[in-house]
């Protein structure tokens, strides 16, 4: 064969083999992979959905406008999208087992991003999830809080109002761009207070190679349109009269700031909330990692029961730092002593910080069920 013939024969044969196999796979997709219309019964008849089978339960419900909280976007790495499946869920998959405790398995709790809709199903979803909506908005402004944290304020356009509890989070959708070939979504806690119903504000720290944080820091501009879903989460202020301890690090400031701003807003109408003693420990490395200090000072002035305690783990000489220094856990231990159990703690930060803080809080006498935190996978 001449070189030209060899070229055409090899290209032709490879193309033929690939096309043949692709055809087989498409054929299989249309026959074996085609599950047809399925019925999903939610909460024993509260809602009845007629859906196309074959996709994950999480995606299917999302297409029907029911948004199950999920921080990782369906990769099975956060364990948040659990719900109760009473029939039609099939066997537990190995990818679910890490997230679902044996006692929850007996109740039929499943990870909705891992199970597929392959037959008619009955599921139970907390009714409040029906209030979770998809919002579109426009970036109103972006501000540098520190060298690696930005405050992003989004004015909601459709729907134009949101109702949530201070401390909850939204999922921000990141479109396709350089670092990601598909749309993904990531969870961020609001730093704005719920009484500002027309906007949401986030504090987002740049994570090296993070798909969403890189997009926010490098690509997102004022005026851009964004899409969000929410609100999600069980992290919000409990309506009790107990003392409040807040501990945060870095962008973990966001939900705590939201809770504090909410307390301030409600202080006039509900003086009992403002009367709760509240201490906020904020951990940072050095002066340049501290932010919104002026807001904290203002809060201290308007809420007599509130104290802000920033702590630097490695203050630089030029910082001339007069405040607390050392690890946040040591500072917390020093201030709390043995406060006893009539205290609630609200934590937001890295998984390592949360774990370390929980053990310190336990030492100080605060029981585990009065320690609240979000864990983002």
């Amino acid at each position: 064969m001449s070189p030209l013939e060899t070229f055409f024969v090899s290209v032709g044969v490879i193309t033929a083999i690939a096309t043949g196999l692709a055809f087989l796979v498409v054929l299989a997709e249309m026959t074996i992979g085609h599950y047809g219309r399925m019925k999903i019964d939610i909460n024993n008849g509260e809602k009845l959905l007629d859906v196309e089978g074959g996709q994950s339960l999480l995606t299917t419900l999302k297409e029907e406008g029911i948004f199950i909280p999920s921080a990782c976007g369906g990769r099975g790495s956060c364990g948040l999208c659990t719900l109760k499946v009473t029939s039609g869920g099939g066997d537990y998959l190995p990818t679910e087992l890490a997230w679902i405790k044996p006692e929850s398995r007996e109740k039929g709790i499943r990870l909705s991003c891992q199970i597929k809709v392959k037959r008619d199903m009955s599921i139970e979803v907390p009714s409040r999830l029906f209030s979770i909506k998809e919002f579109s908005g426009q970036v109103e402004y972006i501000e540098d809080l520190t060298h690696d944290i930005k405050r992003v304020r989004i004015r909601l356009t459709e729907p134009a109002d949101i109702s949530y509890k201070a401390g909850q989070f939204m999922q921000l959708a990141v479109p396709e761009y350089e670092l990601s070939s598909e749309q993904v979504s990531r969870a961020y806690s609001m730093s704005s207070a719920p009484h500002e119903t027309g906007l949401v504000e986030f504090m987002i720290r740049l994570v090296p190679n993070g798909i969403c944080t890189t997009w926010v820091h490098r690509y997102l501009k004022e005026g851009d349109r964004v899409s969000l879903t929410g609100p999600f989460g069980e992290f919000f202020l409990q309506e009790t009269s107990r003392e409040i301890i807040c501990i945060a690090g870095g962008s973990g400031m966001a939900p705590i700031r939201s809770i504090l701003a909410d307390i301030e807003h409600r202080a006039h109408a509900q003086p009992e909330i403002a009367a709760r003693r509240c201490r906020f420990f904020f951990g940072a490395v050095s002066r340049r990692d501290l932010f919104v200090l002026d807001e904290m000072q203002r809060l201290e002035a308007s809420l007599p029961a509130f104290t802000f305690i920033p702590a630097l783990s490695a203050p630089k000489p030029e910082d001339a730092w007069q405040g607390e220094s050392g690890l946040i856990t040591d500072v917390v231990r020093k201030h709390l002593g043995t406060t006893g159990s009539e205290v609630e703690a609200y934590l937001c930060g890295s998984p390592g910080m949360i774990k370390a803080c929980i053990s310190v809080l336990n030492e100080c006498g605060i029981p585990v069920d009065r320690i609240y935190y979000d864990s983002f996978g």
């Binding site: 064969m1 060899t6 024969v9 090899s10 044969v13 490879i14 083999i17 690939a18 196999l21 692709a22 087989l24 796979v25 299989a28 997709e29 074996i32 992979g33 099939g90 066997d91 537990y92 998959l93 190995p94 990818t95 597929k116 392959k118």
Partner: protein
Amino acid sequence: MNEISVLSIFLAAVFTNNILLTNYLGMCSFLAVSSEVKASAGLGIAVTFVMAVTSVLNWLVEQYILVPLDLVYMRYIVYIVVIAAFVQLVEMIIERVSDSLYAALGIFLPLITVNCAILGATLFIAIREYTLPQAAAYGAGGGLGWAMAIVAMAGIRQKMARSRVPRGLSGAGISLVITGIMALAFIGFSGMIRVN
């Protein structure tokens, strides 16, 4: 062609020429999924099945398409495409027919598409010019050998979870050391059975 008996090729593939421990192929899933015996047995069975079938499929493709058209140098691409399509089809079928089989095996199939042991086995078959029965024996044996190695590793790691490992070595470090020692033991068998 090559006149070694089918049985000795099978045994060689399982023990003396273990694809994982003497050729070091399929390492990533070996290290990633060997923390628990149950999961590693599932993956091992899936690899055995896929390796046995794709060895035969690729042998047929080699003999009836690539050799007659003088396209043997394209075998790498063709083999990968055939393996990927086959795995995709099997996954879809398993998912459709049996939930329990999908939970036990199907979940591992996407991992196998990119398992170099599968491609390695078919390439060895082509290079050593095995006949169809020999290819089938090598594929099945190679898969079984791989499964045996990963189950053994998982057993050791499960036991090790309760033993004290020096901090700097724990996790991937000690797993690699163990793999090395297992490989040393298996290299002791090399040359006992002729494979080509």
